[in-house]
């Protein structure tokens, strides 16, 4: 077998690292040193491949073999069998639940087949710490093009014509943001990358910064050149240590290679980047709060009658874009506005990265053209619901988003369709929920989150969210009243209208949408004192349906309080007095005989 050009790519994104991929990487390198092969294959540590739950992922090129759940124990076999003899190790292959078979190349998996990668184009393929890898894949070509062939106006024209809308939440047209800022002749101007990624359940920005930092850098320099700025800041959240490290190394390398700093590749243009470590407050993702934080202040939002494109950082014109937005810039410049516009749908061009998480089989990072159907995302790419339980809802857009019920499963994923039904694109977190998620509790959860994260400047936000939280908590404890539903909606309106920043304005969304689509559940909690999902413990009871129970005794074995009794092969019974409602019997019953709610069978003794 010819070993030249052989590459072994070991995923070293956060997900895989958590499963010891770095040890796999190190061991592979060592093992190869001891092996006498004419040409040593390259071993590279890459960023996230998207399917973190099945990690560590190891890919072998050019043979195009992908191994999943690789451990250090597999290293010998990989080298001896696959690298030296070209044999495929069956047990490490990916099993596709849709196709019901094992696949050699990950590219054939349903999870990847439906995807189209623009902002994630290099991730999982390049070593983020090697600028050479980026250059090999046409990196900094777009920068070269703008510096030597394009004027500011031409660049802004392309971005505007591409129809790119900001990927950080609101979907504001990027080109028009740049154009407004370009027009102000007030220097210095600043460029900011919003790498705060505060939405729980979203990790696309982190993966881009960790896995392909150069694309973010290139996007920012291009904008700097276009609007005549010489200084950019990357505000990266506190928890993202690896993202900060990889970004810093990439910045240093870009400087060494002349892509950053003074007289960039001989063009006379100077631009520099600095990383600012976030302070760990959700509201700091909001643009004006973020800038206050960079300036060294408490990160409180300010009213936006003057926009930051005119007066942003230190009151100078400032462009702030999201990480994913930046990653889209170089390919748009290289391939042109027409190309970008041809992907996606009207008014929503290009692709969007989603983090598909929750009760779905294939959790991970997914990039699809705008306009892809939600159903395709969840059932084809995502492989459906864990344990094939019934699908209940999708939550999109983080705390400011909403819940989408199954009637809307065929909705197109784009900024406009989502906001039409009361939800939001947000940063692209898609949280899949099955019948064991309680929608009232979920609304309560978001109110708790937001009441903690409110900066406290506006009374409506500070106090209003707290009152909503109190009402919702009462309902989950069985202490709600029917009038509460109206009251929640009234409060929602006031809070949205009277709060200053996006946090307060959108805070009531999870409550409004759960009431809109799942009012029955609210009524069940209030009137029938029942939580059918088994989440609100005070309103949950378990019983075993006699006809379905096969008497295997698994439930009794799992019960921590010995509340379940019964003779083998005969229906078992739950003693409600002893049951602590942990749900272990429910999740472990192989036949689904354990049910939630309904009549509680009292034991006779």
């Amino acid at each position: 077998m010819n070993n030249s050009n052989r590459k072994i790519l070991v995923c070293c994104g956060t997900g895989c690292l958590a499963n010891n991929s770095f040890e796999v990487y190190t061991k592979l390198k060592e093992k190869l040193k001891d092996t006498k092969i004419a040409v040593q294959p390259l071993v590279k540590a890459t960023g996230c491949n998207g399917l973190c739950e099945k990690g560590p992922v190891v890919k072998i090129l050019p043979d195009d073999i992908s191994y999943f759940k690789v451990s250090t124990k597999d290293v010998d076999a990989i080298v001896e069998k696959t690298i030296l003899n070209g044999e495929i190790i069956d047990k490490l292959l990916y099993y596709d639940t849709n196709e019901k078979k094992k696949l050699i190349s990950h590219k054939d998996a349903t999870f990847y087949k439906h995807q189209q990668k623009i902002s994630l184009r290099n991730i999982g393929e390049v070593d983020p710490l090697l600028i050479e890898d980026y250059l090999e894949r046409d990196g900094y070509k777009a920068l070269r093009k703008v510096l030597f062939e394009m004027t500011s106006e031409e660049i802004i024209d392309v971005i505007e014509a591409s129809g790119l809308r900001g990927r950080g939440g609101a979907g504001f047209p990027t080109g028009s943001k740049w154009r407004t800022c370009y027009k102000y002749n007030n220097f210095p101007k600043y460029i900011v990358c919003n790498g705060d990624e505060g939405d729980p359940g979203a990790f696309m920005d982190r993966s881009i910064m960790e896995g392909d930092p150069n694309t973010v850098i290139e996007g920012m320099i291009i904008c700097g050149y276009a609007i005549k700025s010489h200084k950019g800041y990357l505000y990266i959240r506190d928890e993202y240590e690896l993202a900060r490290k990889n970004m810093q190394i990439a910045i240093d390398n870009a400087k060494k290679h002349g892509y950053l700093g003074e007289n960039i590749i001989g063009s006379n243009f100077d631009f520099d980047l600095e990383i600012v470590r976030g302070g760990g407050a959700f509201v700091c993702g909001e643009s004006s709060a973020l800038m206050a934080s960079i300036e060294g202040n408490v990160g409180e939002p300010r009213a936006k009658y003057i926009r930051s494109v005119e007066k942003g950082l230190w009151n100078q014109p400032t462009i702030l874009n999201n990480v994913e937005t930046w990653a889209n810039i170089p390919p748009i410049i290289s391939n042109g506005a027409k190309w970008f516009k041809s992907i996606g749908i009207e008014n929503n061009s290009g692709t969007k990265v989603f983090s598909l998480v929750g009760k779905v089989k294939n959790t991970g990072l997914v990039e699809v053209p705008m306009g892809t159907k939600l159903r395709e995302l969840v059932f084809d790419i995502g492989g459906g619901i864990i344990k094939d339980r019934p699908f209940k809802a999708i939550q999109t857009g983080g705390p400011s988003g909403g819940c989408i019920p199954k009637e809307h499963l065929d909705i197109s994923l784009d900024f406009d369709s989502l906001s039409n039904i009361g939800s939001m694109m947000g940063s692209g977190g898609v949280i899949v929920m099955d019948d064991t998620t309680c929608m009232v509790e979920l609304a309560r959860y978001y109110m708790e989150f937001l009441s903690e994260e409110s900066c406290g400047k506006c009374t409506t936000c500070r106090e209003g969210i707290k009152i909503m939280l109190e009402i919702l908590t009462n309902i989950t404890k069985g202490e709600g009243e029917l009038e509460d539903i109206e009251l929640l909606l009234d409060l929602s309106e006031t809070i949205s209208n009277a709060s200053l920043c996006g946090l307060g304005k959108t805070a009531p969304n999870p409550v409004i949408t759960t009431i809109k689509y799942f009012k029955d559940e609210y009524i069940d909690h209030i009137v029938n004192q029942k939580c059918n999902a088994g989440i609100c413990k005070k309103l949950t009871s378990y019983y075993i349906e006699e006809e379905i129970c096969i008497g295997c005794g698994l439930c009794a074995k799992k019960c921590p309080t010995n509340a379940i009794t019964g003779i083998k092969k005969e229906p078992h019974i739950i003693n409600a007095d002893i049951c602590v409602k942990c749900g272990a019997c429910f999740t472990n019953c192989p036949t689904g005989a354990v049910k939630i709610g309904g009549v509680v069978v009292e034991s006779k003794n």
Binding site: C52, P200, G201, D238, G278
Partner: protein, 162 residues
């Protein structure tokens, strides 16, 4: 456990002086101090205030506003349990229950021996492995109650070796 009076202020000054005396470095300085001592000691706040020429009250409000900063001392091992949406719906609550049970402290508290602190955080960015927790920067994915116990035992074991 470290106490205020035992802090070596020469070290503190070194940390502060790494940065030019510009306001924009306030957060960065505070974060370095937090990393060094596990909290922001009162005396150090005064030093930063002097150095940057910023009112002490501003330093104080920053120290209380940002989650990454704390006025209370933290344990040697900081356990961050994610309660972001992805982790929440995959049962992070039971991990929190188990931890508070094993360590006998509530979230945001520190054990008496100064070894462990529990923090509840919003998202650790490894949502595909939900529920997730982190100990001093090391990730633990697909957590269960049983695994929580093993992880704590592992760190307690480390202490015995030393």
């Amino acid at each position: 456990m470290k106490i205020d009076s035992s802090i070596d202020y020469n070290e503190t000054i070194k940390i502060i002086r790494k940065y030019p005396n510009e306001k924009k470095f306030t957060l960065a300085i505070l974060q370095d101090i937090q990393k060094e001592y596990g909290f922001i000691p009162k005396e150090v706040m005064t030093k930063i205030s002097d150095y940057l020429n910023i009112p002490l009250s501003d330093i104080y409000s920053m120290s209380t506003f940002y989650k990454a900063l704390s006025l209370k001392e933290k344990g040697k091992y900081i356990i961050k349990v994610c309660n972001g949406t992805a982790c929440h719906i995959r049962g992070s609550n039971s991990l929190i229950e188990e931890l508070t049970d094993i360590l006998n402290i509530a979230p945001e508290e520190t054990t008496e021996d100064g070894l462990f602190s529990i923090e509840i955080v919003n998202c650790l960015g490894a949502c595909a492995l939900a529920p997730v927790m982190m100990v001093n920067g090391k990730y633990y994915g697909s957590m269960t109650k049983e695994k929580v116990k093993t992880v704590i035992d592992e760190y307690r074991g480390l202490e015995h070796e030393q």
